[in-house]
């Protein structure tokens, strides 16, 4: 099982000091957070993609390429890549390039985005969100698997004799997750391709998340990729920790109360009860996260949202120390215990390459017979 963090990349005023970081400071903070993730033994860093203030990460492969050069083990991912408004040809090229530079430590998560004006800014129509996600991803899927693509669709100019370069590293496309909070079409899409399904699991009660995950698992089996409990599931989570849980609540409350997403709405206590948000001791985070398995089955990737709502970098780095040193080692051990042998690990480049080589060897053996 993989553990990591995902960042929205918001520039938010620290409500306790009134200080707002510059874009440059926030970009630098995201990089330092990613490096820290590797240092404390986490597996994955994923960045959001946004094209409007107050968010900085508009160019994920630039940022991830830089982080790739300064890390050795960390898997670099996105949360999410806008499959609706990006040209799928450019996604194919950008992430294949990143895959080469990062030695295969790359996967990505497709999403539709939640900012209405981004669609018209990029020449698209938000009412076509799902059809765009379906058609664009289908083209992207082909571009990474077919050397020469002839293609015609509704949303982009046709392609004749097109080869996306560079070709994926070792001929193995980056693994793809599809993220959606509540669109059954996206769970269906992930299941159809045998790709991963990620639920951000942060803003909604578990019963909503469970409906999406259950649908994806059932349809994964329907499309013949394996059993439902072998489908590739990723979940988000949101935590704030101090050794003493009262200290965590006291310190996090002003950030919660003023957070851009849910601030000035429900109380911290209400939101903690209704959603997976956990504010407390490392042990409370461990207990709550372990319960995800009861709700959603054994899964492959757990990402935490740690740097948002104006939390200062120093605090976020302290949080990552706690996460890496006290929480994740226990989660690794506990999630491994009782995990059925047929439940796969999260796909990695090495694993996908080995599977591809096995398949090729089998095919050669068949042909020789």
């Amino acid at each position: 099982m993989q553990f990591g963090i995902f960042s929205v990349g918001d520039v938010t005023t620290d409500p306790t000091t009134g200080r707002t970081p510059s874009e440059g400071e926030r970009i630098d903070a995201m990089v330092r957070i990613a490096l820290k993730a590797e240092e404390v033994g986490l597996d994955v860093f994923a960045t959001g993609e946004h094209h409007n203030p107050p968010f900085v990460p508009s160019s994920p492969t630039t940022m991830l390429g830089y982080i790739a050069a300064r890390t050795e083990r960390l898997v670099l991912s996105t949360a999410t890549t806008l499959i609706t408004t990006n040209d799928p040809v450019k996604i194919a090229e950008d992430y294949a390039m990143l895959q080469h530079l990062a030695g295969g430590r790359v996967d990505l998560m497709m999403g539709r985005g939640n900012t209405g004006p981004v669609y018209p800014w990029f020449g698209q129509d938000i009412r076509q969100g799902v059809p765009l996600a379906v058609e664009n991803y289908h083209l992207l899927h082909r571009l990474w698997r077919e050397d020469v693509v002839n293609w015609e669709g509704k949303f982009r100019t046709p392609l004749q004799g097109f080869t996306s370069t560079p070709r994926p590293l070792d001929g193995v496309p980056p693994f793809v997750w599809h993220g959606s909070i509540r669109s059954p079409e996206i769970a269906e899409q992930a299941a159809y391709y045998g790709d991963g399904f990620f639920h951000n699991n942060i803003f909604w009660p578990a019963e909503h998340t469970k409906r999406m995950v259950d649908l994806y698992r059932r349809r994964y089996e329907h499309y013949g990729h394996g059993r439902a409990d072998q489908a590739i599931v990723g979940l988000g989570g949101q935590v704030f920790m101090r050794r003493n849980s009262q200290d965590a609540v006291r310190e996090f409350r002003p950030y919660f109360d003023n957070a851009p997403v849910y601030g000035h709405g429900p109380s911290l206590e209400d939101f903690t009860r209704e959603t997976p948000l956990t504010v407390g001791s490392p042990q409370q985070v461990i207990d709550r996260t372990l319960r995800f398995r009861e709700d959603f089955g054994d899964y492959q990737r757990q990402l935490f949202l740690m740097d948002h709502a104006g939390l200062p970098l120093k605090t976020v780095l302290e949080q990552l120390d706690l996460l890496g040193e006290e929480v994740v080692p226990v989660l690794r051990r506990e999630f491994a215990a009782g995990r059925p042998a047929h439940v796969p690990d999260a796909p990695t480049h090495a694993g996908l390459l080995a599977a591809e080589q096995d398949r090729a060897a089998l095919q050669t053996a068949e042909e020789e017979k």
Binding site: P131, V134, A187, W204, P205, D214, G265
Partner: protein, 205 residues
């Protein structure tokens, strides 16, 4: 015998409120009218004042928390809805609108709705026609032809006389009962149980 679920949503702010009083009168009349038509209705009252904070939270977080979830479900699953609001500034109250703003898209599609309102003066009665009825039309609900407005003075007026409050309540309840009783209980497909197969999504149908 059918057992239609009737949900009465009222948005009065005081306790007790004349809005709730009107909702209860309509619920009672609808219950009698449905029984006359051979049905055995089960009625549930949703008092929006009780969910005022949760409704604001829902606007900000996107999901109904706690008891509001049950209220939202009661409205969404109803076979017939009675919706009563005080008239503020020539329209429904903000609390009333907020409740219908947080329902899932299509939640009231095809649902018979009896619209009613209260106000201090009868001069605001047409707010039912220019504010409530268009909103429910937009939600693809089926509004009952008679909308019931109760001004303060109606509570002291003779009820039985033609055109009085009691006769308006009975006429609206009868129309409502006809719609509810005549409605086939068409279950809406659950997109999580029955997803659109991907080949169809891919073909752009």
């Amino acid at each position: 015998m059918t057992e239609p679920r009737i949900t009465a949503v009222s948005a009065g702010l005081s306790v007790p409120s004349s809005t709730r009083l009107l909702a209860d009168r309509l619920t009672g009349a609808a219950d009698r009218a449905l029984r006359e038509r051979g049905a055995a209705p089960a009625a549930e009252a949703v008092e929006l004042r009780d969910h005022a904070h949760a409704l604001t939270d829902n606007l900000l977080t996107g999901f109904p928390s706690g008891d509001l979830k049950a209220a939202v479900d009661a409205a969404s699953r109803a076979d017939g809805l009675i919706a009563v609001t005080p008239i503020f500034n020539a329209s429904y109250s903000g609390l009333f609108k907020t409740f219908f703003d947080v329902l899932e898209e299509g939640a009231l599609q095809g649902t018979p709705v009896l619209i009613a309102a209260t106000g201090g003066t009868p001069r605001h009665s047409l707010a039912l026609e220019h504010a409530l009825r268009p909103m429910f039309a937009y939600l693809r609900a089926v509004t009952v032809p008679t909308a019931v407005y109760a001004a303060s003075e109606d509570w002291g007026a003779g009820g039985a006389a033609h055109g009085g409050l009691a006769s308006r309540i009975d006429r609206a309840a009868g129309e409502f009962a006809d719609l509810v009783a005549g409605r086939s209980a068409a279950a809406r497909p659950d997109p999580y149980d029955e997803p659109v197969p991907f080949e169809r999504l891919l073909s752009g149908e």
